[in-house]
C-alpha cells in the first residue's frame, strides 16, 4: 500500500518532528510513502476558502491531482488539510459546474483532476489499513499505566459527509481512544472531549477568547481524568494545547503541566524511534512522560 505524504504548512515548518514521525512509522508498518513533489498549502481556511469557492477547489485539486497522477491517495496528519481538501473534493464531486471551472483552470498548467484521489487521515490509515492488531504487535514500549486525554479535533469529525472515513457517532468519537488503548493506555471519556481547542482563526482574531476555550478544556482534562498526556490527531490542536498551555501557566491561570503529542509521535515513541527526532519540539516539557514510556518495555 502506498500514500502521497501531504505535509501542509504547520508540520514541515513549525513541527517537523511530526513529519519525521510519519516518515519513520509508516514504512515500518508496511505503508510506502511518496513525497508528492511540488505539493503546496491545502489551501487553508483563511486563504482561498475565504475568497473564492472555485479558487479554493482549484488549489486543492492541484494537490489532489499530484496523487491522482500517481494512482494513489493522499495522507495527512493535519486536520485543516484533511478538512479543506475533502470539503473541496466534495464540492467538486457534487457540483459539476465547479468541477468544470476547476479543470479549465488546471488545463492552463497541463493538469486535470477527475475526483478519484482523496485525502486520508493518518489516524484512519493506522486504524483501518494497518489495523490495531498489527499496531499492538509493532510496539516495543507501551503506554500501560498511563492515562491519555484524546483530542480528535474538529476536522477529524465534521462535516462527516465529506470525509472518506467516518466515526459511527461523530459526537462520541471512538477511533483515537481505541488506538491509544491499543498502545496500552487508558483513554477515558471526559466531558469536554469534543470541544474546540480555540486555535486557528479564533486565536488570531481574539486570543483572549481563544485562551478561554483552551483553558476550559485543559482544566476539564486535569480535573476529570488527571491525564498523564494529551494525544491529538491535529497539528493545530497540538500547537494550541502545547503552546497556549505554557502561556496560561506563565499568566498564573493554571498550575499544572500536561505534555501534548500528535498521535504519530506517540506511535513512533512506542515503536522505539528516537524521541529527540520524533518528539523533540515542544513548549510544555515531555521528558518525564517519555522516560516513563521507555521504562514500559513490551516483554
Amino acid at each position: 500500500m502506498k500514500y502521497g505524504l501531504f505535509l501542509g504548512c504547520n508540520i514541515p515548518f513549525n513541527r517537523p518532528d511530526v513529519e519525521v514521525s510519519m516518515r519513520e512509522i509508516f514504512p515500518a508498518l508496511g505503508i510506502e510513502l511518496d513525497d508528492l513533489r511540488g505539493q503546496s498549502c491545502c489551501p487553508t481556511w483563511g486563504t482561498l476558502p475565504s475568497i473564492d469557492v472555485v479558487g479554493w477547489c482549484a488549489v486543492a485539486a492541484r494537490n489532489l491531482a499530484l496523487g491522482e497522477e500517481r494512482g494513489i491517495d493522499l495522507m495527512t496528519a493535519c486536520n485543516s488539510c484533511y478538512g479543506s481538501l475533502n470539503e473541496a473534493r466534495h464540492k467538486m464531486l457534487t457540483n459539476p459546474e465547479i468541477m468544470e471551472k476547476v479543470n479549465e483552470i488546471l488545463a492552463k498548467i497541463g493538469k486535470k483532476y477527475e475526483g478519484r484521489a482523496k485525502c486520508r487521515h493518518v489516524a484512519w490509515v493506522l486504524y483501518k489499513d494497518v489495523g490495531l492488531e498489527k499496531l499492538r504487535e509493532s510496539i516495543k514500549f507501551s503506554l500501560e499505566g498511563l492515562t491519555v486525554a484524546v483530542q480528535p479535533g474538529c476536522h477529524f469529525l465534521w462535516p462527516s459527509k465529506v470525509y472518506p472515513d467516518k466515526e459511527e457517532d461523530p459526537f462520541n468519537p471512538k477511533v483515537l481512544r481505541e488506538i491509544c488503548e491499543a498502545l496500552g493506555a487508558d483513554a477515558p471519556y471526559y466531558s469536554r472531549l469534543i470541544d474546540c481547542c480555540g486555535m486557528g482563526a479564533l486565536r488570531s482574531t481574539d486570543p483572549e477568547k481563544s485562551f478561554k476555550l483552551v483553558k476550559d478544556k485543559l482544566e476539564c482534562i486535569k480535573e476529570e481524568i488527571d491525564a498523564d498526556l494529551i494525544v491529538t490527531t491535529c497539528s493545530s490542536c497540538l500547537i494550541q494545547l502545547d503552546d497556549a498551555q505554557e502561556q496560561l501557566r506563565k499568566k498564573g491561570e493554571i498550575n499544572f503541566s500536561i505534555p501534548v503529542f500528535h498521535l504519530v509521535q506517540i506511535v513512533a515513541i512506542c515503536m522505539g524511534f528516537d524521541p529527540s527526532r520524533v518528539a523533540g519540539i515542544c513548549v510544555t516539557p515531555r521528558d518525564e512522560v517519555i522516560k516513563k514510556i521507555l521504562e514500559n518495555e513490551v516483554r
Binding site: L7, C9, P12, F13, R15, P16, E19, V20, D35, L36, R37, G38, S40, C41, P43, T44, W45, G46, T47, L48, P49, S50, I51, D52, V53, V54, G55, A58, V59, R62, G83, I105, L106, K108, I109, K111, C154, H155, W158, P159, S160, P170, F171, D195, C196, G198, M199, G200, A201, L202, S204, T205, D206, K209, K212, L213, S276, R277, G280, I281
Partner: protein, 185 residues
C-alpha cells in the same frame, strides 16, 4: 491589464459588480458566494447551541448572522470580526436539520467582506505568503527541520520552482487576482 503594471485594484470589475448587485437582496449575493441554502433556515438554533464562537461571546454567530442577512442587513455587519474568527469546525453543518450549512454562510460572509475590502491584515499576509512560497504558514528559519534531521526544504513548492509557478498561474485565475488583493508579479 497593462504590462509591467501590477494590478492593485481592479475598479472596473468592482464597479460592474456593484451595478449588478444594486437592488439585489443581500441574501441573494450570499447564495451566489457559496451559501446556496441560506433561505432554508428556520432559526431553530441548533447551530448556535454548538458553535464555539457563540460560546465565547462573539456577537454575530451563525444563527444570528443568518437572520440578519435574511432581513437584509449588510453595512452593519461589515466591520464585525465574527466571520473571521470562525474556525470552520462544521459542527453547525453536522447538526443543521435543514441542511443550511451555517459554516458556508459564515464563509460566504467572509467572501462578501473581501469584496468590500473588509479583510484582516493577517489574512492578507497569509495570501501573500501563499503566493510567494506556496505556503500560507511559512518560516524562513529552518533550525527546527535541521534539529530533527530533515532536509532544509520540504518537497513542496518551497523546493520546486516549476510547481510554484504552476500554483501562481492558478492563483492568477482566481478572485485573488481579479480583486487585486495582493500584488502578483
Amino acid at each position: 491589464m497593462i504590462e509591467g503594471v501590477p494590478s492593485v485594484l481592479n475598479l472596473t470589475e468592482i464597479a460592474e459588480r456593484e451595478k449588478e448587485e444594486f437592488g439585489k437582496r443581500v441574501y441573494e449575493v450570499i447564495k451566489e458566494l457559496g451559501a446556496e441554502r441560506i433561505t432554508f433556515c428556520m432559526q431553530c438554533g441548533a447551530c448556535a447551541s454548538i458553535c464555539p464562537l457563540a460560546r465565547v461571546g462573539f456577537e454575530w454567530f451563525n444563527k444570528k448572522l443568518i437572520k440578519a442577512l435574511l432581513l437584509g442587513l449588510k453595512e452593519e455587519l461589515l466591520d464585525d470580526p465574527t466571520p473571521w474568527a470562525c474556525v470552520a469546525c462544521n459542527r453547525c453543518t453536522e447538526v443543521c436539520p435543514r441542511d443550511v450549512s451555517p459554516f458556508e454562510v459564515m464563509f460566504a460572509m467572509r467572501r462578501l467582506m473581501v469584496e468590500e475590502f473588509a479583510i484582516p491584515t493577517l489574512a492578507i499576509e497569509a495570501l501573500r505568503s501563499l503566493y510567494e512560497h506556496g505556503h500560507a504558514v511559512y518560516m524562513t528559519g529552518r533550525e527546527a527541520r535541521k534539529k530533527v534531521g530533515l532536509p532544509e526544504k520540504p518537497p513542496s513548492t518551497d523546493s520546486d520552482e516549476k510547481a510554484l509557478e504552476d500554483l501562481r498561474k492558478i492563483l492568477k485565475e482566481t478572485k485573488l487576482a481579479s480583486l487585486g488583493l495582493i500584488p502578483m508579479e
